[in-house]
């Protein structure tokens, strides 16, 4: 860029006398206006695709975290009860109910978010109230360290830890290979902070939602709820309704830890 540019330098309106301030302001205003117009129209044009994709990803995740469900229903928490509502609104507090082919409630898919190692982790987990078990966990959004923290969704062994995980008294992350109780998760070696963050986010979601789920009124149209409260003694009647039920060997819930949420 030497020789040739010399001649061309004169072409633009630069070399002339000082342009008035009005002209400068006008140039930038017009540029800003045009730019704004373009951006708004592109935003409007792409927004439906973007939100539709996000909704699709979320709905697909529901089927991954709840076992053997046939259809789902988005439920919004209003006035102390859950109401079915399909239109997305990020402001609302919402969960997804998962139902089997007969229309019986299997469980809820609960979205939750919290700080990870680098940035907010957003995830969705399945919860079966009749057994007080987490049935699966799916990371929706995270920026954890590639190769280490991103194992929270790439390491299938870790993701598998969240299948049939007891939530009482609360979920705990323990050193890899040392989990014994049904409420313990093996943390990932080298990604302890991310693993603990996931567990914390789940507990956080439980704290926020468990009291709201078995609301006394306003149940979704999908038949009756599988009354989750008295599950201590009454696991059996509901297992008929929830085909996901235990291969009744494992989930011995720790006795004496029936939390208080129940009343709502």
């Amino acid at each position: 860029m030497s020789g040739g540019s010399e001649k061309a330098l004169k072409t633009p309106g630069c070399a002339n006398s000082e342009p008035s301030s009005t002209r400068l302001v006008a140039t930038l205003s017009i540029a800003g206006l045009l730019s704004g117009l373009i951006i708004v129209s592109v935003y409007e044009a792409t927004l439906p695709t973007i939100t539709a994709y996000q909704a699709k990803v979320l709905r697909e995740a529901v089927f991954k975290v709840l076992p053997e469900i046939d259809h789902i229903q988005r439920l919004v928490y209003v006035d102390g009860g859950l109401t079915p509502k399909d239109t997305e609104d990020p402001e609302e507090e919402a969960v997804f109910g998962g139902y089997d082919a007969a229309g019986e409630l299997v469980g809820y898919a609960i979205p939750s978010a919290g700080p990870g190692f680098q940035d907010t982790i957003r995830l969705l987990y399945g919860y079966v109230p009749s057994e007080r078990l987490v049935t699966g966990m799916e990371i929706l959004e995270s920026r954890e360290t590639p190769g280490l923290g991103d194992k929270i969704y790439k390491d299938l062994e870790f993701v598998g830890e969240f299948e049939r995980l007891a939530i009482d008294p609360e979920i705990l992350a323990v050193k890899k290979g040392t989990s014994t109780a049904p409420n313990e998760v093996d943390a990932i070696t080298g990604a302890t902070i991310s693993s603990k963050a996931v567990v914390r986010i789940l507990n956080e979601g439980n704290r926020r939602w468990l009291s709201k789920l078995p609301a006394a009124s306003g149940q979704p149209p999908a038949k009756r709820r599988a009354v989750p409260e008295p599950e201590v003694s009454a696991t059996t009647p509901h297992e008929a309704a929830a085909p996901s039920a235990a291969p009744n060997t494992d989930p011995q819930q720790p006795a004496g830890s029936w939390p208080l949420e129940a009343g709502g």
């Binding site: 030497s2 072409t11 633009p12 630069c14 400068l24 140039t27 930038l28 800003g32």
Partner: protein, 216 residues
Amino acid sequence: MPKTQPDAYQEFFKGLWRENPVFAQVLGMCPMLAVTNSAVNGMAMGLATFFVLVASSLLVALLKRWIPRQVRISSFIIIIATFVTVTDYSLQALVPAIHKELGAFIPLIVANCLILGRQEAFASRQPARLALMDALGMATGFLFALVALGSVREILGEGALFGVDLFGPNFEPWVIMILPPGGFLTLGLLLLFFSWLAERRQKLAERLAEMEVEGS
């Protein structure tokens, strides 16, 4: 070197090699190091930058007559930012998976000094045709560099290229290569390699010239 009438092809090819934005000018390092943890990400970032650079260069070259010199940088930034935002939304709508991987680095293309540099140094003082060729060349050079860096890091760090497993299950991936330090290491080694190549070529040319002198 460009003569009084610079050749359009020369403007294109200089960006690929002799004035390659990464290996010769060492510009645009921030996205370069941040997103090249795999070849696909490098390519996506390269293509996004490609679009922004070519579109902005062309527009700046066409509009330069109406842009007063005093507000040229602000105008360039407005033009670049518009194209970046358009790219951001389009990627989010068309290839959401890749958009998710690149994350914050798409909006940051605005701050890529390579793009503003080309507007100030070239597009704002050359005819549109040459500005277009220059932008195409520089953008291709940048794309090439990103894919090269991404490939090296993915091969060593994941044992794969473009997501295809190369070495089978017995390969122990060298995780540091896809972490930030790996970016610096790879970039340093690639810079070394390319300047070594350039030096060798220069020596070869000198020797040829000497032989010609002796021969005549």
